[in-house]
């Protein structure tokens, strides 16, 4: 059991040590204002990463989230410009994205194809759909919209917990509840652990697969709304490569890529680590932003290596136990 928790503990240790090092160099990074900004700036990434965690725990992958985020933004901008109320637009776009994910899930299950190629097609399709709607960057301007974006909670010390940060926190809490306290969550872990065993034990694999990808795309839709609220615009080239950032956040958060093992809480720390790297680069001021990618790549490698090591040790221990029993 401790071996299972080790990736999560390692992630937490990395985050705390990194934050301590940053704070030693720039004491201002300890302020609530910076923490609040860390949450706001990475809200869309966090929301999308919750969906990705479910997908990866089930043993799959979803490459379409970045495109779905961009599509959501463009759709909102176009629809609101056409005179539809933002709230109605939110509902519409969430229905569209969730259905989109459900179709991908159905294709993965019924065509028995690898998830990466189906979601690759989904990525092309969603990005193409944005371009067809518009290739311009459209600002969103609506009284209701302005009201929504102005909502925030003043923290002591001058920081503001914005609505998008609150949405992310709520999504994470809900994700944790769904993963650990519902039947659906158990099905997801079961499928990732061993799909055939899960099926034999009565997990409705078809329904669960469809639901997992519908959830991931639906949350990508929420992430798209958050992103649109954050930037107040819709742009068809926005959020390219976000799928990779979310996968990185999930892996750094201690979820095993082979499926079956992982936590939503770990993903939260993974998102925070990525945000911390960016914040550090901004504070430093002399480093280029591409260092983010190199550090994230390095962390990704380190954590995958750690995971392989753990799996290896566990397998050896199991073999040893079997020998002892015989």
């Amino acid at each position: 059991m401790t071996a299972r928790n080790l990736p999560l503990i390692a992630t937490l240790v990395v985050f705390i040590v990194a934050y301590a090092l940053c704070a030693m160099q720039f004491p201002a990074m300890l302020s609530l204002r910076v923490v609040a900004n860390l949450l706001t700036d990475n809200a869309y990434l966090g929301v999308a990463a919750v969906g990705m965690t479910f997908v990866i725990i089930s043993g799959g992958i979803d490459l379409s989230v970045g495109s779905v985020i961009a599509f959501t933004g463009v759709f909102l901008a176009v629809v609101i410009r056409a005179g539809i109320d933002p709230i109605t637009a939110f509902v519409l776009v969430l229905i569209i994205t969730t259905l989109f994910g459900a179709v991908m899930g159905a294709m993965i299950h019924y065509l028995e194809t690898p998830p990466f190629i189906v979601t690759l097609a989904g990525m092309f399709f969603a990005r193409g759909a944005c371009f067809l709607l518009t290739t311009d960057s459209i600002p969103i301007d609506h009284p209701t919209w302005d009201f929504i974006t102005s909502l925030n909670y003043r923290l002591p010390g001058g920081g503001r917990l914005t609505l998008v940060a609150m949405i992310m926190l709520v999504v994470f809490l809900a994700g944790i509840l769904v993963a650990h306290f519902t039947r659906f969550g158990t099905y997801v872990y079961g499928m990732g652990g061993n799909r055939q065993s899960a099926e034999l034990m009565g997990v409705p694999v078809a329904r669960t697969t469809v639901a997992i990808y519908a959830l991931s795309s639906g949350l990508a839709g929420v992430a798209g709304i958050v992103f649109a609220l954050y930037t107040s615009a819709g742009y068809s080239l926005a959020a390219t490569g976000v799928e990779l950032d979310t996968i990185a956040a999930v892996v750094i958060g201690g979820t095993l890529l082979t499926g079956g093992v992982g936590t939503i809480a770990g993903t939260f720390v993974g998102v925070l680590i990525q945000g911390l790297i960016q914040t550090y680069i901004i504070f430093d001021g002399t480093l280029s932003s591409w260092w983010t990618k190199i550090v994230i790549g390095g962390l990704l490698f380190a954590f995958i290596l750690l995971q392989r090591g753990l799996v290896h040790v566990a397998a050896r221990r199991r073999a040893a136990a079997r020998m002892a029993a015989a």
Partner: protein, 330 residues
């Protein structure tokens, strides 16, 4: 799942060639001058040559990608490797190194990148999609490190000639793609290498037990992919006479995967054809050019690609295989 895979739709390449013919014909319908060729300054010009020339980098990537996918893997890092090798070539060119030195250095960098991927997959046993994701995320950062965040331009005549010169009237990238493709196809089909690659793709554990050195074969596949990406990166840098670490080879890994899939190589591993992947690359480029020529917005391309993937998935899927077997029996 495995028995349905013996269903072979594309053994001869007829569907791919037919698709290419149909698309070329459609291009001719919307653009009657499509097949017009003219000779100028000793080289051919025309839309058809344009399709070949622009499709060459993806075709070269597809050669390596075919081998990787045939081992039941995938290489997401080829676009990033292109950026790194392009950055190396451009930086060295602007520093005035001679052409052979530049080429050897860029190819060596590609080889190292491929070796890294291969070691992760074969020795550390990491899933290919994740192993190559690491380099995909890091690669552009490394390329920026090499170019120091700038777009490096050069006037090195030797390097410019790689994409700019011609041979027998054909643009050099096309010649390189064809030579590499034929050489690779000969290498895998005239030796046992192709058979070993296929056996690993079908069942790596069984192949290893049967005496196949699956580690070396897997590493070789990723090294070949890295080298192909290096060649494509050099061509891309030579074409724009510079290195753009952010945009060189961006999303080309997806086009390369698509080319391989269109070429009939099975995503489940174990069945591949390098030459048909080249045809696949041409199919994709012909579609791109066709959409441009017909005046539709180029953005439509992505949707068309998505539809193509879905159609291929349906045709290749085990379900379709079972259905065909069912109807054949009756």
């Amino acid at each position: 799942m495995s028995f349905a895979r013996s269903f072979r739709l594309s053994g001869t390449g007829a569907p791919q060639l037919a698709t290419l013919a149909v698309i070329l014909f459609a291009n001719w319908l919307v653009f009657p001058e499509f097949f017009d060729l003219r000779m100028q300054d000793g080289r051919l010009f025309g839309s058809l040559i344009d399709v070949l020339n622009r499709g060459a980098p993806v075709a070269i990537l597809a050669i390596g990608m075919t081998l990787v996918i045939a081992t039941k893997g995938v290489d997401l890092s080829v676009g990033a490797i292109m950026a790194i090798c392009g950055a190396v070539a451009a930086t060295m060119a602007s520093d005035g190194y001679s052409l052979p030195v530049i080429l050897i250095a860029a190819l060596a960098v590609g080889l190292v990148c491929g070796l890294w991927n291969g070691l992760l997959v074969a020795v550390l046993d990491i899933q290919p999609i994740i192993a190559t994701l690491i380099l995909m995320v890091t690669g552009r950062g490394i390329a920026q490190l090499i170019t120091e965040g700038q777009i490096v331009t050069f006037t090195h005549q030797g390097l410019i000639a790689i994409a700019g010169s011609s041979f027998l009237g054909l643009p050099m990238p096309v010649v390189i793609a064809v030579v590499l493709g034929v050489a690779a196809a000969a290498l895998v089909r005239l030796t046992a290498l192709g058979l070993l690659v296929e056996s690993i793709g079908v069942n790596r554990t069984a192949s290893t037990y049967a005496g196949v050195d699956s580690r070396s074969v897997l590493i070789t596949a990723y090294v070949v992919s890295g080298l192909c990406a290096a060649v494509a990166g050099i061509i891309a840098a030579s074409d724009i006479r510079g290195a753009d670490a952010n945009n060189a080879g961006l999303w080309l890994e997806l086009d390369a995967i698509l080319a391989v899939v269109v070429g009939g190589t099975s995503l489940f591993g174990g069945r591949f054809s390098i030459l048909l992947s080249l045809v696949g690359a041409m199919v994709i480029q012909a579609m791109n050019t066709g959409i441009l020529l017909s005046g539709y917005p180029p953005e439509l391309n992505l949707i068309v690609k998505a539809v193509v993937i879905v159609v291929i998935l349906v045709v290749q899927s085990p379900v379709a295989g079972r259905l065909t077997t069912f109807f054949r029996r009756r």
